[in-house]
Symmetry: C2
Subunit: 338 residues, 2 copies
């Protein structure tokens, strides 16, 4: 007997590694000291412009968005989503990326599939200037179905200690919402159940109200907000940022507000995109359940001083962003609606 | 319809997070600035003793050792294994740990199960002085069977740039092997197939030659070699370290040798532990296949100058290590056997 008969193909793993190496190299900068394939990825951070640098690290997955990728046969976008998700997660602490690592676990080691997945990572890593310095690709027959896989991403960034967010949030601060591009990476178990089971659509179903297929709408990329928000970070115009991920508004906004303060939001402040309306209607889902599951069209919220609002809106709009004033910080706790 | 009907229980996730928080806090040191639950974990590294600090990052999983944990109903050891694996992976670059993050994906969010898993992480993180500063716990029905899960770990450490390993490996250097405590985290698909299918054992089967049950033998911890090797790192007595992980000797030793050099090993230099002999005999597996799949009883190899050998052995033995001179560095490439 050999390892291959037990379902693990080391030759295929070597072939996959060779494909990954070039993709990762395309994301490198001068701070990366090792090729992919070392036990550890080495990164010499340039911390000269920081007085008191703080490392900010985060890990995440993309949930069952992967199931949609598999149904649609599109594997080069979920890696992008995961990097963007991680970039946003450290951005809300005020940090900019240093480097990224990926974990890919598959039912069957298919070097072509792995290359597609990693190309999504490398595209995003290049876009966000966040080198892909290491990773693990594991073949786990029995845990994953032959066509199935899971991804985890790990990011490390840096922030000046006294510039870390949230910082100085007060009653009366304004919540400025930035649009998402779809579900990002949350709520896919519910969305798939409604769209693909209850409503009986397929990923190839084209819906006029979406202007695209179900698969395209569900695979719309997770937006990374670094480029839009970095100038405002540098000019100290942000008191907090909130990434709307699993748990939606009520699960995320309180994470960045001090004790004693809550958020009051206005439902009419922005239009919920058609995909969310389709899921809500198709599943007969309450507003509350929608809002604690999905981002509802708002992927990131900036908490700003009322006196900075005009400058913030102007800066974001100059970068092509649409902005919505969706509410304000109030006495209390949690999220309430006008 | 709601998210719970789609298989995702946010209340259970909140309960799990509460349990994780205390476990993680027990691993903190003064450099950790955030509680678990922030978008990103914040860590202020003390780099004052480094002239040119280099961050070393690595990610890994524990493979299908998790399948054994599930069969045995023991969930508080695989997290330990994963931290030890990651600590070893950066140790071979000469780095000591700064912090760790975990990714736990489950078919069903069971707060008790999650707490058991994370207790393994926190025990190891405390042992290796490597705070657990963040993580993700994802419920993914449809990807994982209800009782199944997967783990990924992510570590960041630091090394002085000019002390990074490997460094100056030469022909004639000596390979000193340190014992493993079992399969560590590699080869479980093959081991399970042979032991639980071909030989028909159960995890509860007690075998006299093992002195324990199959489950106990397969769940023996992945050893972390930091405490044993750190004094030698500090005294510059190591030219390279090699962690014997997936790919065994031929897959790992060449990763730390310069071009033009290979390793010549002696099979009789140490006794293969009974578990490996049992698997080899039970599966009718060749020496070559065993050696490219399993660690064969050697979990870490130190490459040292012949003039330092005595000091290295003495230092390791004072820390309770058994050491084996298992071979030497020779002209050529790859791994060959006397």
């Amino acid at each position: 007997m050999d390892y291959r008969e037990a379902g693990v193909d080391i030759s295929a793993a070597d072939a996959a590694k060779a494909r990954i190496k070039g993709l990762a190299r395309s994301t490198f900068n001068a701070q990366v000291l090792t090729e992919i394939g070392s036990f550890g990825g080495m990164f010499r951070p340039d911390l000269s412009r920081y007085r008191e640098p703080v490392l900010v690290a985060s890990t995440d997955g993309v949930g069952t968005k992967i199931k949609v990728a598999i149904l649609a046969g599109v594997h080069d976008t979920v890696g992008y989503d995961l990097v963007a998700h991680c970039v946003n997660d450290i951005l809300v602490q005020g940090a900019t990326p240093l480097f990224f690592l990926d974990y890919v676990a598959l039912g069957k080691m298919d070097p072509v599939r792995v290359e597609q997945i990693v190309s999504g990572f490398s595209r995003a890593c290049a876009e966000f200037s966040c080198p892909l310095i290491g990773g693990e690709t594991a073949e786990m027959p029995g845990t994953y179905a032959e066509d199935d896989y899971d991804l985890a991403g790990f990011i490390v960034g840096v922030v000046e200690k006294d510039k870390a967010l949230p910082r100085g949030v007060r009653e009366g601060d304004v919540l400025v919402g930035l649009p998402s591009l779809g579900l990002h990476t949350n709520g896919y178990s519910l969305a798939r159940k409604v769209l693909l089971e209850t409503l009986g659509h397929r990923v190839s179903t084209h819906l006029p109200e979406l202007g695209m297929t179900i698969g395209q709408a569900l695979l719309a990329p997770h937006r990374g907000y670094l480029a839009a928000l970095e100038p405002l970070l540098e000019r100290d115009r942000l008191r907090a940022l909130c990434h709307i991920t699993g748990g939606g508004f009520p699960g995320n906004i309180p994470r960045v507000l001090p004790d004693g303060l809550g958020a009051r939001l206005r439902r009419g402040a922005w239009e919920r995109p058609p995909l969310f309306r389709l899921i809500q209607k198709g599943g007969g889902i309450s507003d509350e359940e929608m809002e604690r599951t999905f981002n509802m069209g708002i992927g990131m919220i900036a908490v700003v001083s009322p006196s900075d609002l005009h400058e913030v809106e102007h800066s974001l709009e100059r970068r092509g962003e649409t902005t919505f004033v969706i509410g304000s910080v109030v006495q209390g706790a949690g999220v309430s609606w006008e």
